[in-house]
Symmetry: C2
Subunit: 315 residues, 2 copies
């Protein structure tokens, strides 16, 4: 049985030993980075600098909420809006691996800039066990470059500190609860953000479409859960496909974008079942998406794939 209190104590001691001088953490507001920041903050206080980067691929209102959270946690933080740089670097890129690599590199470049300015020696990352297990070790395949692993360029000037490296997601949540962090029940969000939920080119315009669709999926599902109409899924979001399909708009036939709704149940993220969302909720989500994004999206599908054979995210 995993002992969160014991883990926290040992972890803080270890971090104190590991970190020299000032450390930097990329603070996304997700469970992993929040737990990580809280632990390191307990270990080295203001010597930890939390940096939140608005990549342009954050969820609706997310960057604002993250800023509030960093304040509440008494973190020594910096807020950087690099969205336009990310969009520029991703222009014309459709290959999923290339996208992840570019985003990973860009992240590091932004952090290195802060690191240089602040005289930082260590980089804290919220990598957890499934991240590097799925990214491949000697025995496994290395097709996917995971956002917390493969995105890291080889020539990095910082020491890597990964306090959650041996934990599974449910254990990270236990630590979060033990630390009384309010994000404990928050759904996981991938490092490259909405960029991996935009299949094909990740432009500013397409980011806005998937951001609004994600927001609708989250709101409707959270409301349905509150009303007792369904169980809270492990993860739930929208994916924008690079496919046009035909639709009707008044008397006209128009070609529009396709949004996929994805929601899964899981214990450990290694296997998942698609959430059995009641049909009336799916209908409500679909109608709200096509109404809100009228000139752009005219078709909504629901992902009914378990893992295996599908993954939770699409790329």
């Amino acid at each position: 049985m995993f002992d969160a209190e014991k883990f926290i104590k040992e972890s803080i001691d270890q971090i104190k030993e590991q970190v020299e001088g000032r450390a930097l953490i990329a603070f996304s507001g997700g469970v992993d980075s929040t737990v990580c920041a809280a632990l390191v903050n307990k270990a080295i206080g203001n010597n930890l600098i939390a940096v939140h980067v608005d990549t342009g691929f954050m969820r609706k209102n997310e960057s604002k909420d993250v800023e509030k959270l960093m304040e509440k946690m008494n973190l020594n933080y910096r807020f950087v809006d690099s969205s336009q740089e990310f969009f520029n670097d991703l222009k014309g890129v459709v290959d999923p691996e290339k996208k992840r690599k570019i985003i990973g590199e860009k992240f590091i470049r932004v952090f290195e800039k802060v690191a240089k300015k602040e005289g930082i020696k260590s980089l804290v990352q919220g990598t957890i066990a499934p991240d590097w297990i799925e990214s491949g070790d000697s025995l496994r395949d290395t097709i996917k470059s995971h956002h917390n692993v493969g995105g890291l360029p080889d020539k990095m000037d910082l020491t890597l500190v990964e306090p959650l490296r041996d934990l599974y997601k449910d254990e990270v949540r236990k630590v979060a609860r033990a630390l009384k962090l309010e994000v404990a029940e928050r759904q996981p969000f991938p490092g490259p953000g909405l960029a991996v939920r935009i299949i094909g080119e990740a432009t500013k315009e397409r980011a806005e479409i998937v951001r609004e669709a994600c927001f609708i999926v989250e709101s409707e599902i959270e409301e349905a859960v509150k009303e007792g109409k369904m169980e809270m899924p492990w993860q739930y979001f929208a994916v924008l496909l690079p496919v046009k399909s035909v639709g009707v708009h008044g008397d006209r036939r128009v070609h529009g974008d396709v949004i996929t709704v994805r929601a899964v149940e899981s214990i450990d993220a290694m296997t998942c079942a698609f959430s059995k969302i009641p049909n009336e909720i799916l209908d409500k989500i679909s109608t709200r998406i096509t109404n809100s994004l009228k000139e752009k999206v005219n078709r909504v599908v629901y992902d009914i794939t378990n893992k295996p054979p599908g993954t939770v995210e699409w790329e």
Copy 2:
């Protein structure tokens, strides 16, 4: 109220007047062409030649079944396998309108060949009202070239006979029942066949994938209906998307194809609601598709779009 018996009587008289010499009908086995063939057969007997073309985009076992049906209806028929020619003509073509045009033209060329050989003067087509209403008249948009309308090249050497031109789908079904045709309850199937259910390039390999997926969707839904688990949808089928998504296969990450399941309720095909298929049936369909097409398909989605704003078919 529509009077099927009266329509049949008047229609036969009109066909006798309209058709000179021998007529030809493209016999797909769908409700429209079957009703059409039955009417014209009653009017001119063996002077009607029913031609079934295996385009390579027919459903599983469909061409064989159609041949049996033509025999049972005592039609004077010809069976032509042109699948390889269709695949050749569609090589590299991804634009939906272009695909329809090419298929329509090819159809006509195949029929013209038979027509020339058989000394035929008239072409019978099962066009119904929504076909030409949706294809646009003077007041409407003409974006879509419908399979029974826009596919026809201008320089056609045959006289066009369209006995069902003023009917809606439910009226065609009434006529079918009045004629005691066993296809009466059969779901509609588009003229270009599975080609419009292969978004992107319609190759032989991709036709085989969508054919198997369509077969699974049909079998599972029909079984669920028989077991009283759901209502029979108006139309239900699979669509192959030109999108790869990531999946897991043993320890490996693999990129596979995405299949969309589409099922709708409708009265007249002008407006539709997506079918509220029970989640356990969707789960069964999804698992069977990814198991049967293991090396190819690793993700299945369910289309939750009503019409409007989406159409029933995707292109």
